[in-house]
């Protein structure tokens, strides 16, 4: 360890976790008379003051509907909303702002692609390919669609470490595969998938790819053009922004071809009772008054993360923190880490002897430590590892080694109670 330390220091130089923590007001509170240790960022992240201020400022000063009025407030609201779209475009590395559709979140983004892209192309006997590490939101929409169209849902397997078996995934990409849908980072295991390589394999067989970026957006720099995926979607609330908003990136050529997802205001150019002419991208997919405060909050979250400087020191800091947490947990007798991929981000999922995760969670809460317990909306992953549930401690760049030490000590208490 001591040999690696100088390298780590230089890799994380320029990232000051204490300064970052000061930006997140919710982190600084007592829970059950102990300082809060928030290790549930994979469920939802805390929000920096800059995001809270941006949403408040919108309501205090600029509140109006977008794309409607000619008055000053409406113009300011529209500029803020469309400004947020451009921030998301740069955040994702998209070529054009019109390739960014605001959605409710990752689930909504996936459902939009299922409804408007895959559904019209899917015929009886066709296949949709997913992986064994998906969240329910990247399973159920495809199951519903396959049921409706009498198509088949295929599942690429994972190893005992929680890594995709890329060779088997490749073998499952067949002539009837209409879409490959997979997560960039697994929510239950933390595995980072080699999405660039996988997209290349899929495209070689003419299969378009949707990436669920919900757990990648808070941890990794994203470049949809380099990945070359056809669709990429994420939720703001896991990436330091508000709930109820997210974005779907789609290649322009696909979005142009796709029918609308929902009908309503804002998505039309003209309406008569005989015919409706749909609006241009991306408004065709944004029916009704959008989540304006959410988009502005998301834009502020992206701006905040950018204000922390280039991503490399932050990513190195998180990687080092995850390695430290892994060492802490591995010292606890009876603890089994679920998800031990070489390339991981943000997630420490585990079981502790035969103590049920809910009991672990309650005792940790008594120590002021917030974790998620349960199946993490990934029941097939739990089945794959032969457990009903796990405890998941998930990290963000505002967590510290001291907090992971407290987690370790609290787990020793759990062992004492259940000895």
């Amino acid at each position: 360890m001591s040999g690696a330390a100088p390298n780590l220091r230089s890799a994380t130089a320029g990232f000051d976790v204490e300064r970052v923590r000061a930006d997140f007001p919710a982190l600084h509170q007592m829970v059950h008379e102990k300082p809060l240790v928030y290790l549930d960022s994979a469920a939802t992240s805390q929000k920096p003051q800059a995001v809270i201020d941006a949403v408040t400022k919108f309501y205090r000063a600029d509140n109006a509907n977008v794309h409607r009025g000619v008055h000053a407030l409406s113009e300011r609201a529209t500029a803020a909303y469309e400004g947020a779209r451009v921030k998301v475009q740069h955040f994702l590395g998209a070529a054009k702002a019109k390739e960014v559709v605001f959605v409710k979140g990752t689930t909504d983004g996936i459902n939009l692609v299922a409804h408007s892209f895959v559904r019209p192309r899917l015929k009886q006997g066709d296949e949709i390919l997913i992986t064994a590490m998906e969240h329910h939101s990247n399973i159920v929409p495809w199951q519903l669609l396959c049921e409706e169209k009498d198509a088949k849902l295929k599942v690429a397997p994972i190893t005992d470490a929680g890594e995709l078996v890329v060779g088997e995934l490749e073998a499952l990409l067949g002539p009837r595969t209409r879409l490959l849908a997979l997560s960039h980072v697994s929510n239950a295991l933390g595995t980072i998938n080699p999405v660039r390589r996988i997209v290349e394999l899929a495209h070689r067989r003419g299969v378009p790819v949707l990436i669920d970026g919900a757990q990648a957006a808070p941890h990794l720099p994203i470049d949809v053009q380099a990945i070359d995926c056809d669709f990429y979607t994420f939720s703001a609330h896991k990436a330091f922004g508000p709930t109820g908003i997210g974005a779907l990136y789609g290649k322009e050529k696909w979005l142009e071809q796709m029918p609308p997802y929902q009908g309503g205001g804002d998505m039309i150019l003209s309406v008569t009772f005989e015919k409706t002419i749909f609006n241009a991208l991306p408004y065709k997919f944004e029916a009704g008054t959008p989540n304006i405060e959410g988009a502005i909050g998301l834009g502020a979250a992206i701006e905040y993360v950018e204000s922390l400087g280039p991503p490399e020191p932050r990513v190195a800091f998180e990687r080092e923190l995850l390695a430290y947490g892994t060492r802490v947990l591995n010292q606890i007798p009876g603890l089994r880490l679920i998800g031990t991929a070489v390339d991981k981000a943000g997630v420490l999922s585990f079981t502790l002897a035969d103590v049920h995760p809910h009991d672990v969670g309650t005792i940790l809460d008594g120590e002021g430590i917030a974790v998620r317990t349960g199946h993490h909306c990934a029941q097939p992953v739990m089945q794959r590892f032969g457990v009903d549930a796990t405890v998941r401690a998930s990290l963000a760049f505002y967590n510290t080694r001291e907090e992971l030490d407290r987690l370790g000590r609290a787990l020793e208490k759990v062992r004492e109670i259940f000895r």
């Binding site: 103590v355 049920h356 809910h358 009991d359 309650t362 008594g366 349960g374 009903d388 109670i417």
Partner: protein
């Protein structure tokens, strides 16, 4: 450990979760029902043999947290031999205990060992763990024996 946690994980609770009583399938049961907590994956099956409007035999199986296992185990102990009307009354009192907390002077007498779960009400997120087996019992006693889920708004 703070006092609330000590109240929740009383020795009786830990003992029943480690060594659940009346655990396993009841052959020849004339009533059964299943209960699920979809949020945490807890599941329980309750088996009953009835005689003359009373619970002649009761067993359960399933998996879950310490609270749900101990509650199911304590429930089977408390209900063996009880008349159906008495069982219903016990559920009413137990439900009050784990949702509102102890407040009745005669509770220790009427609830007996079930008082081991008197700390649950301080942990609202865990109330459903304690009541799952009881709701499942109730379903087994009603003719349909429908599967119970904790996410039904009627099930608290």
């Amino acid at each position: 450990m703070n006092s609330d946690l000590r109240d929740l994980y009383q020795e009786v609770v830990l003992d029943h979760s480690r060594k659940p009583r009346n655990f396993g399938k009841l052959e020849g049961a004339d009533r059964t029902a299943q209960g699920f907590n979809p949020l945490c994956g807890d599941r329980v099956t309750v088996y009953l043999k009835l005689r003359d409007e009373a619970i002649d035999e009761i067993r359960f199986e399933g998996s879950g947290c310490a609270i749900s296992k101990a509650s199911a185990s304590l429930m089977t102990g408390a209900l063996k031999g009880k008349r159906l009307g008495e069982a219903e009354e016990l559920f009413r009192r137990f439900h009050h205990l784990v949702t509102q907390g102890p407040n009745d002077a005669d509770e220790p007498e009427s609830l007996g060992k079930l008082m081991a779960l008197s700390g649950v009400w301080e942990f609202p997120a865990r109330v459903k763990c304690a009541t799952l087996a009881w709701h499942t019992l109730k379903s087994a006693l009603s003719e349909g024996g429908a599967t119970v889920t904790t996410e039904d708004p009627a099930t608290v």
